[in-house]
């Protein structure tokens, strides 16, 4: 009973400061928990697409396979750029949660730019592949490759849209220390998309097709 009384008292204390976002059953805010749950679902989405590619990666129908035209040094560089954006994302969160709005904005913009560079690299890669005879409809392997990496690219692009929305909100003075958690939640999504890319890069680009 005493534990319950304490809980009630804590609730009381929280209530006097208005609505405390953290007074939830798990202690996590709803939005953060929701993002984690959503990312769980995303794992299965990417899992399905990665499996599809693994099944089809050698099915060329007598035409060029994606593995024949991979430019691993180039993709390594753009992968590095994407991974570095996770670092700037962390710096953005750290700045916003310390109340340094301007530094926060800078790092948010840097993250979005690095993401943009990655997307630019992907667009270049896609056009280069098409020139070399691997288009979306060439064979099952190419369909699977473009769908998987394109789907990931769309995820990165949505992340960039979210980052830029935060950037604009910050410019208008709406992104303050007390809603640093919004940055953290966008960051969760951003890191997830990066981690997925580590899988894709390893499984699709680095493991050779026999």
């Amino acid at each position: 009973m005493s534990a319950e009384a304490v809980t009630a008292d804590l609730g009381h204390a929280a209530d006097e400061h208005g609505h405390d976002e953290h007074a939830t059953t798990t202690g996590l805010s709803h939005t953060k928990l929701a993002m984690w749950v959503f990312l769980g679902s995303e794992c299965l989405l990417f899992g399905g697409l990665i499996s599809t590619y693994l099944l089809y990666k050698t099915r060329g129908n007598g035409r060029t396979l994606p593995t024949d035209v991979f430019d691993i040094p180039f993709t390594s560089v753009s992968s590095f750029v994407l991974l570095m954006s996770s670092l700037t994302m962390v710096l953005a969160l750290s700045a916003v949660s310390r109340g340094e709005a301007e530094a926060g904005r800078t790092w948010l913009l840097a993250t979005a730019l690095l993401g943009g560079v990655f997307i630019g690299g992907q667009v270049y890669e896609f056009t280069a592949f098409v020139r070399e005879g691997v288009a979306f409809t060439t064979n099952p392997a190419s369909s699977a490759f473009f769908t998987l990496t394109g789907f990931h690219g769309v995820h990165v692009s949505l992340g960039i849209v979210m980052l830029m929305s935060l950037f604009v909100a910050s410019l208008k003075g709406r992104l303050t220390q007390r809603n640093a958690e919004t940055v953290e939640i966008v960051g969760l999504y951003w890191h997830f998309v990066d981690i997925v890319w580590i899988f894709i890069f390893t499984v699709i680009y680095l493991i050779p097709a026999d």
Binding site: D15, T24, V37, S41, G48, Y56, T137, S142
Partner: protein, 659 residues
């Protein structure tokens, strides 16, 4: 002890009050009221539950008409009610409608309405996302059915739409495109709703409501949400690939280019088998509430019920390939999936035995709800037993694609899922509407449905074992199929009669309600928190958020043990219940944006099929609405009440039974 409410409802990060001077968005912020417009902007989980339920019942009638067409076609040999082509479309759309547009949303109705009430919350974690998932679901459902009008007919590839039947070569109309895109839209709705309800369940429980004190209905619905969360993305991938194949010439399912048709089968059934449990677990939850109430006993083996539900949720992922025993996937896979399929019968059997043990020695009251619940247990057991026969791969090889399979899954889905949810409808009707459903008409409806159901699907076991294929549009004389097909058709007409009686019951009960005594907060002498508040439920649910001390909290508010260890009543329901008269409770404000977002999605769908410009318009509408939504404060700054005063009011209130 005054119980202080901790968080009435989540405010988003960044308190809305700061934006009070600059409200955004083109819509005047709607206020909750009583007109039809308020249903379009509502964010109340109870109204959204009702919207889900009503729409699901509508599509039950649509799917039912399709079922009757099938049975009329097959009533006699060489039937000519439908052409072979239309027959293919009708049975496909019957399956898709019943699964995605009837049972799943009806279960969603229960989730929306009762999860917050059973855990002692005032709403779900994200009220506007809740509205969004309903409107997206409805827009997807309408989209799917418009293929009859603008798509050149419904999908004609069966509900599991195997490759290569789903390709343009074998299905040239737009039906399959509508199937692929429509189910993706419905998938978004399920994803949003499952995230929302999982967070609600984990994060918004009343003080003292630990996980192992949650009512079993809430537990089963929570497991269902996890299954939805992880199963839907898998079919989304499959549908995504199918859409690219059909609309943009990708090569995923083109065997000529070396593609593997089994890819679709695996992806579909990795979704499809958990889907079976998505359908059945909510009904299990309902039955687990109804049977203890009408046996006047606590549920036997609560922990076993919960953990066998969780076990079903996990093992449901390891049995999918028993749908594919004849696909030639090899003896090791077949043996492995045979075994896992036999194992999954164990937790299911645990549940059945626990329901029986709950009734054993209880003071049984056979209301219509209880009859439906008992029938669910019996019919599901029959379906479960024929399911175990499928785990025997050699037998399954004989039965695959025969009416034996059709008989099996209708016993599970109709006999288990639908009868179970009907038990819930009769049980909670007085809680939702403040009047009972007529028991006499309910009895007629129940018995006719039970007889009709067995007459329809029982003979299909025999037809299947005699070798009648499913999905054939007709059959020749002289195979011995005539008698049992006619019996099944008569049975299906009986089901239709019982549904008509049910609808009449709904109308008549409402009409008679003013002349009958109101049911009060707790008409069935039930056990969980939703019965501790008035019927119908006030908008704010709970006057004070209850403090939970144990399982069956509400039962213990009414009953206690005396010195001799006998259970005695210590309070009537009316004494113990909350009055529902609290005022000034802080509630989330309604919004039109969820509806606006949902309208854009089918436009994208039509656009992908017919004209990409239309898709662009739909996408812009959706994006613009999402941004307006994000900029709209969670709480209306102009709303009539003031937060801080509310807090004081609630501080002063000492709760009902929990003080």
């Amino acid at each position: 002890m005054a119980i202080v409410e901790k968080t009435p409802l989540e405010l988003g990060p960044g308190d809305s009050v700061r934006y009070a001077e600059r409200p955004l968005g083109v819509f005047t912020r709607p206020q909750e009221g009583r007109g039809w417009r308020d249903w379009l902007s509502t964010v109340d989980h109870k109204r959204i539950g009702i919207l889900y339920g009503a729409s699901a019942m509508f599509f039950f009638l649509v799917g039912g008409v399709e079922a009757l067409l099938i049975r009329l076609q097959l009533a006699a040999p060489e039937g000519s009610v439908l052409s072979a082509d239309v027959y293919n479309q009708v049975y496909t759309m019957h399956g898709v409608t019943m699964v995605f547009l009837f049972i799943m949303p009806l279960a969603a109705a229960f989730s929306n309405y009762f999860i917050p009430l059973q855990i002692g919350a005032r709403d779900v974690a994200f009220p506007r996302l809740n509205a969004l998932s309903f409107w997206i679901w409805l827009s997807g459902a309408i989209f799917l059915n418009t293929s009859w009008i603008v798509g050149g007919g419904g999908a004609d590839c069966g509900w599991f739409c195997y490759s290569t039947n789903s390709g343009v070569a074998f299905s040239p109309s737009h039906g399959v495109d509508f199937y692929a895109i429509g189910l993706q839209i419905l998938g978004i709705a399920s994803l949003v709703s499952s995230v929302n309800l999982i967070v609600t369940c984990l994060n918004m429980r009343a003080p003292g409501m630990t996980l192992m004190r949650m009512p079993v209905l809430t537990w089963m619905l929570l497991i269902t949400q996890f299954l939805l969360l992880f199963a839907l993305p898998v079919i989304t991938v499959a549908l995504f690939l199918l859409m690219f194949d059909r609309l943009f010439d990708a090569q995923f399912f083109n065997p000529d280019a070396g593609a593997d048709p089994l890819l679709w089968q695996h992806l579909f059934w990795i979704f499809g088998h958990p889907e079976v449990y998505i359908i059945i677990l909510p009904a299990f939850g309902v039955v687990s509430e109804v049977i203890p109430t009408f046996s006047r006993k606590p549920l036997f083996g609560y922990e076993f019920m919960v953990f066998s539900g969780i076990a079903i949720g996990f093992m449901g992922w390891g049995v999918w390939a028993h749908h594919m025993f004849v696909s030639g996937m090899g003896p090791i896979s077949v043996a492995a999936f045979s075994l896992s399929t036999m194992f999954i019968a164990v937790p299911t059997g645990v549940k059945v035995l626990n329901w029986l043990a709950t009734m054993w020695g209880g003071k049984l009251r056979f209301t219509v709800a209880m009859k439906f619940a008992v029938a669910t247990v019996a019919m599901f057991t029959i379906g479960g037993l024929s399911g175990v026969t499928h785990s025997v791969a050699p037998a399954d090889t004989q039965q695959t694609d025969t009416y034996y399979i059709v008989a099996h899954f209708h016993y599970v889905i109709f006999g288990g899922g639908v009868l179970g949810l009907f038990a819930g409808i009769y049980f909670w009707w007085p809680k939702i509407w403040g009047h009972f459903l007529n028991e006499r008409l309910g009895n007629w409806s129940f018995w006719i449905m039970l007889v009709g159901f067995n007459l329809t699907f029982g003979p299909m076991h025999i037809l299947g074992l005699q070798g009648m294929s499913r999905r054939i549009d007709t059959y020749a004389r002289g195979y011995g199929f005539e008698f049992w097909n006619m019996a099944a058709t008569v049975g299906s007409l009986l089901i239709a009669v019982s549904v008509v009686i049910f609808i009449w019951n709904v109308v008549k009960s409402k009409r008679d309600a003013p002349h009958l005594p109101p049911p009060g907060p707790d008409p069935w002498d039930a056990r969980s928190l939703e019965w501790s508040i008035p019927s119908p439920v006030p908008t704010h649910n709970f006057d004070t958020v209850p403090q939970v001390h144990g399982r069956d909290e509400w039962w213990h508010a009414k009953y206690a043990e005396n010195d001799e260890g006998q259970v005695v009543r210590v309070a009537t329901a009316e004494e113990a219940a909350q009055t529902g008269e609290a005022t000034g409770v802080h509630l989330p404000s309604p919004s039109f944006w969820p509806l606006a977002v949902a309208v854009g999605l089918p436009l994208i769908g039509y656009g992908l099929i017919f004209n990409l410009w239309l898709a662009l318009i739909g996408a812009l509408l959706t994006i613009a609405s999402l941004y307006s939504w994000a900029l709209e404060p969670v709480d209306d700054p102009d709303a009539a009440h003031d937060h801080h005063e509310d807090d004081k009011n609630e501080d002063d209130q000492t709760g009902g039974h929990d003080s």
